[in-house]
Symmetry: C2
Subunit: 205 residues, 2 copies
């Protein structure tokens, strides 16, 4: 069985417990042999896939009533992977969601680290600085890179910590963000773990 | 005496306890008669002013060693206005600074409300939503506008509250932000109050 998470620029393919990333332009779904379960946010790829008999939409296994109507599929899948805890998906946006005893409690969306830095740069040349991931968030900043880093990261990190434990982090910026959340668990395969749980639950039914 | 705060697109002019805003393109410094104290972040206007004998740079009265070298003049001026408290300047960027017994304790810079909303919109069409200023930040969000608003605003507001009291808010978005900080004091003239304190201190010397 192959699992595919299809985004707008890349595709993550999970097979035999190994995950590989492929550029969307170099992705040919018809070449994948055997059962494939997928999540897709790209409508043109979705259409292409609909003609392939071996591809099944993981979205059909989700109980949508547990979540809110416009919630993204990837966000739902990482929640499905976790029974209890805070799930931080640090990608182009950062989503933070809370699960309690398998029930979705709600969450929020903030800007991704790259997106925030780009927005600072757009505001003024003086704020066009890289985040300092070595900064001590507990201290008040006294230079521009630290003031910008703590301005965006400290409120977010402190909010995440207050939401409870355990904290799981996935997404492209998980290593950078986890640096500020030393007790968090990095798990880049949460989307696929969510998919596998849904498939196994469906098979039992 | 006239006080001027010259930004990159507008000028705030304070005279006889009344503040008015003028577009930079419609601002003719040579027309202001009498003593003028100014803060300026625009180098071409700064050059123009340097030829006017009645204009004095407020920056010369600041003890720069109290602050950090690259700290913006407006940010210093709002701090100079306050002996004790948290000062939030909610403009194109949001600066948050702490003063204790007249000593600068440090601060941070985050994105302004407009800038953050623009950055969300750039990330995806689904996140191109207006902030919901009626949202209850204490509740976990279960729809996109609330998830986006709480994602940006809740961590920031909670961080500001933890910094202490009193909280002063100035800047163009002070009304919107103060909605989430019910015990804060809106004071749109903090920059000018800082200028006046500096001028009075200088006169006593």
């Amino acid at each position: 069985m192959i699992l595919c998470d299809i985004g707008n620029t890349t595709v993550d393919i999970y097979e035999n417990a190994i995950c590989r990333k492929v550029a969307l332009l170099e992705f040919y779904p018809e070449l994948l042999i055997g059962d494939v379960w997928y999540a897709c946010v790209n409508s043109s790829v979705q259409e292409k896939i609909s003609f392939l008999g071996n591809w099944q939409d993981i979205g059909l296994l989700i109980d949508r009533e547990k979540y809110y109507p416009t919630m993204g599929i990837d966000r739902i899948l990482v929640c499905e992977a976790i029974e209890e805890g805070v799930i931080v998906d640090a990608g182009s946006a950062i989503t933070v969601d809370v699960m309690k005893k398998g029930i979705y409690e709600g969450g929020f969306i903030t800007l991704g680290l790259k997106s925030a830095q780009e927005a600072y740069a757009k505001l003024s040349h003086a704020l066009d600085v890289s985040f300092n991931f070595e900064v001590d968030l507990a201290k008040m900043a006294k230079n521009t890179p630290d003031a910008v880093t703590t301005g965006f990261v400290a409120p977010l990190v402190e909010k995440i910590v207050r939401l409870g434990n355990p904290i799981y982090i996935c997404g492209g910026d998980s290593a950078q963000l986890s640096h500020f959340l030393p007790n968090s668990i990095i798990d880049r395969e949460l989307v696929f773990k969510g998919m596998i749980k849904l498939i196994n639950r469906d098979r039992k039914c």
